[in-house]
């Protein structure tokens, strides 16, 4: 049994927080879609995969600068997200939730299959956003990409906050989340808001996929596990509470990194789902109801 010192724990903490940022982005996308449309989008992880894959394609295939490739990939995935909403969710929007869940599963499988068809099974990679020696923080090594992840996530969260709190469109989306029918009565186009929610969430997923791409390889099946972790985060927030979801996502990242570092890396992925089961158990005891607040 190796002895762990403060430096090691700090190391687990910083890498955990940056991974947690990814989960937060995915989880918030899920929360947005759920609150506006009432759909649990099991295809969220595929948006992450598409974002990363398209960024690689634009950067390596079309030789675009990395920044342009990044933005173009996010934009493309947002359009794909809107298309998915129109083609699959919209026609069945009055169906029971079981039907809707199965539809999003079908969408996820299809998108994954398209990824496989377009890019094959060989994993691809994206270069780090900025080159240079990693930073050393009280003995813990922090690669520059991890800084980029945290910075980007914080920036996206800030943008979302500004959008939802201070713009008319953002307030309209929130109104839909609170009560769809009443929103309709006051003249909000709820169908458009549903479309917008899908596009936004797809964009968030894409951002998550692109910033994590330099650290992990990009493959057609990366979306499944990342999407599932996004759910754990969304459910931690009770599917409605964004601040709790953010905290939960960061915590999950740290937990995982601790477990992978000190226990076994094989069980790392199981941890998230054990956490999910515990959270579900906790929800039955109405723990999260105590500080429940809508997005």
């Amino acid at each position: 049994m190796p002895q762990y010192i403060f430096r090691d724990y700090l190391q687990f903490l910083v890498s955990g927080v940056s991974t947690g940022c990814i989960y937060v982005l995915i989880g918030l996308g899920l929360i947005t879609i759920y609150n506006v449309t009432g759909v649990i989008n099991l295809a969220q992880g595929e948006f992450v995969m598409l974002g990363a894959m398209l960024a690689v394609a634009y950067y390596q295939g079309l030789h675009l600068p990395l920044v342009i490739a990044f933005l173009l990939a996010v934009l493309s995935v947002m359009i794909i997200g809107a298309l998915v909403q129109r083609l699959t969710i919209h026609p069945a929007r009055h169906a029971p939730e079981v039907t809707l869940i199965i539809i999003t599963i079908g969408t996820a499988i299809t998108l994954r299959g398209i990824g496989l068809l377009a890019w094959g099974t060989t994993p691809r990679s994206l270069p780090e956003f900025s080159t240079g020696a990693p930073l050393v923080l009280w003995g813990a090594v922090l690669s520059r990409q991890r800084l980029w992840i945290m910075g980007t996530a914080a920036f996206v969260l800030l943008l979302l906050y500004l959008f939802f709190e201070f713009t008319l469109l953002g307030k309209a989306v929130r109104a839909c989340a609170i009560n769809r029918r009443v929103s309709q009565l006051v003249g909000i186009n709820t169908e458009f808001m549903a479309l917008l929610a899908y596009a936004l969430s797809a964009g968030m997923g894409a951002v998550a996929g692109i910033v994590i791409a330099p650290l992990t390889l990009v493959s057609y099946d990366m979306g499944l596990v990342l999407g599932l972790k996004g759910f754990v985060v969304a459910i931690m927030g009770g599917l409605v509470n964004a601040p709790v979801a953010v905290a939960g996502g960061l915590l999950l990242g740290v937990f995982e990194s601790l477990a992978a570092g000190t226990l076994s890396s094989g069980f790392k992925d199981a941890l998230a789902f054990l956490v999910l089961l515990v959270v579900l158990l906790g929800r039955t005891m109405q723990l999260t109801e105590l500080f429940r607040r809508r997005v």
């Binding site: 029971p96 039907t99 539809i103 299959g113 459910i235 929800r283």
Partner: protein, 356 residues
């Protein structure tokens, strides 16, 4: 739209007739198609049919999605495999013990989840499925890990080992028919009526005194028992099992089978299972002709698109939809004939005969 899934109401007599016809078809099937490939395909269809029937009960009648049914299937298979290959148990005893154990696990997992409404069962079963898959992979001393667990004995009846595919085919379908009959009886029993009431309106059912979480939990345990027994049959048929046969993709395929057949129709289960299995085999042949990669994984695109289309346009499943279509056609045809006869009978009157 809560009544989107009209239960596949069928009278007891029609059900028994159906069982008889299915048994007749299955009994004579090997007489006209007795190739090893056809038989082994039919064995697998039979095994998955058992799981799908359980899933139809849970999803169509309990109104809950299970995205982790492969885990119960896997627990049954590994339970049987470990007890017989490592513990030296009799396969039949192992099958029963594995089923009881799996049912108990389903009960324990279900207790917290069924107190919640909405999507949480889907999430909970999904998490349970993933955790089970990882445990099967990582608990190497017990399960053999990703390399699998070999040396599972075959089933035997009264000292006779069931070796041939033909014998196994009859055995599996005997189980499947039995599972079908039990499920049909459950649907037409008190618990079935309670579940239908819950599915149509939880509030209404609750106000009439139906204990929602208890019935949901019961149907969850029943579906787990079905999956576990099917898993045991799978293990003794394959003689070798590895975790990939019980991953998330398998759970999704099981949902697809149930959805294609029709979630609220027990009768849909065998047909949905057969349709998806045959489609998978067909795509496996077809897809290498279309693409360069030819890894056989492209069938998942077709799965996905199919699932979306069926759920959007035929949420009650292929079987129910086609039965409805047939009935509708038949009725309108009879109406047309009756209208024609009555109008020709009263040839003088020029009254417009309204068609249905």
């Amino acid at each position: 739209m809560s009544a989107l899934w009209k239960p596949g109401f069928a009278s007891q007599r029609a059900n028994w007739l159906g069982v008889l016809l299915l048994a007749l078809f299955l009994g004579t099937f090997p007489l006209w198609l007795n190739t090893p490939y056809a038989l082994s395909t039919m064995v697998l269809i039979g095994i998955y049919t058992i799981v799908t029937i359980g899933l139809c009960l849970l999803m169509g009648y309990g109104g809950q999605v299970s995205l982790g049914q492969a885990a119960f299937f896997g627990l049954g298979a590994y339970g049987s495999a470990i007890l017989t290959a490592k513990g030296g148990w009799s396969p039949w005893a192992a099958m029963i013990v594995a089923a009881v154990g799996t049912g108990l696990i389903a009960y324990l997992v279900g207790i917290p989840i069924f107190r919640l409404r909405g999507h949480y069962l889907a999430m909970g079963t999904l998490a349970f499925g993933v955790v089970t898959y990882i445990v099967l992979n990582e608990w190497k001393q017990l399960t053999g890990g990703a390399t699998g667990l070999p040396g599972i004995p075959r089933l035997s009846i009264a000292g006779m080992v069931i070796k041939s595919d033909l014998a196994y085919y009859y055995l599996v379908w005997l189980f499947a028919l039995f599972a079908l009959i039990i499920a049909l009886n459950i649907v037409n029993s008190r618990i079935g009526r309670a579940l239908r009431a819950i599915r149509d309106s939880e509030q209404a059912a609750e106000s009439l005194g139906v204990e929602i979480s208890r019935y949901k939990l019961q149907v969850m345990v029943i579906s787990a028992l079905y999956a576990s027994v099917a898993g045991s049959l799978y293990a003794h048929y394959m003689i070798f099992i590895s975790p990939t046969a019980f991953d998330f993709g398998v759970s999704v395929r099981l949902v697809l089978m149930a959805a294609v057949g029709g979630l609220a129709s027990i009768w849909g289960a065998p047909f949905g299972t057969a349709a998806v299995t045959l489609l998978t085999l067909g795509l496996r042949e077809l897809i290498p002709l279309l693409t360069q990669y030819g890894t056989g994984e492209y069938q998942i695109i077709a799965y996905g698109i199919l699932l979306v289309i069926i759920m959007i346009f035929m949420p009650e499943g292929l079987v129910t939809a086609s039965v409805k279509l047939w009935r509708y056609k038949l009725r309108s045809w009879i109406m047309a004939v009756v209208a024609k006869m009555s109008s020709s009978g009263r040839s003088g009157s020029s009254g417009h005969v309204k068609s249905a």
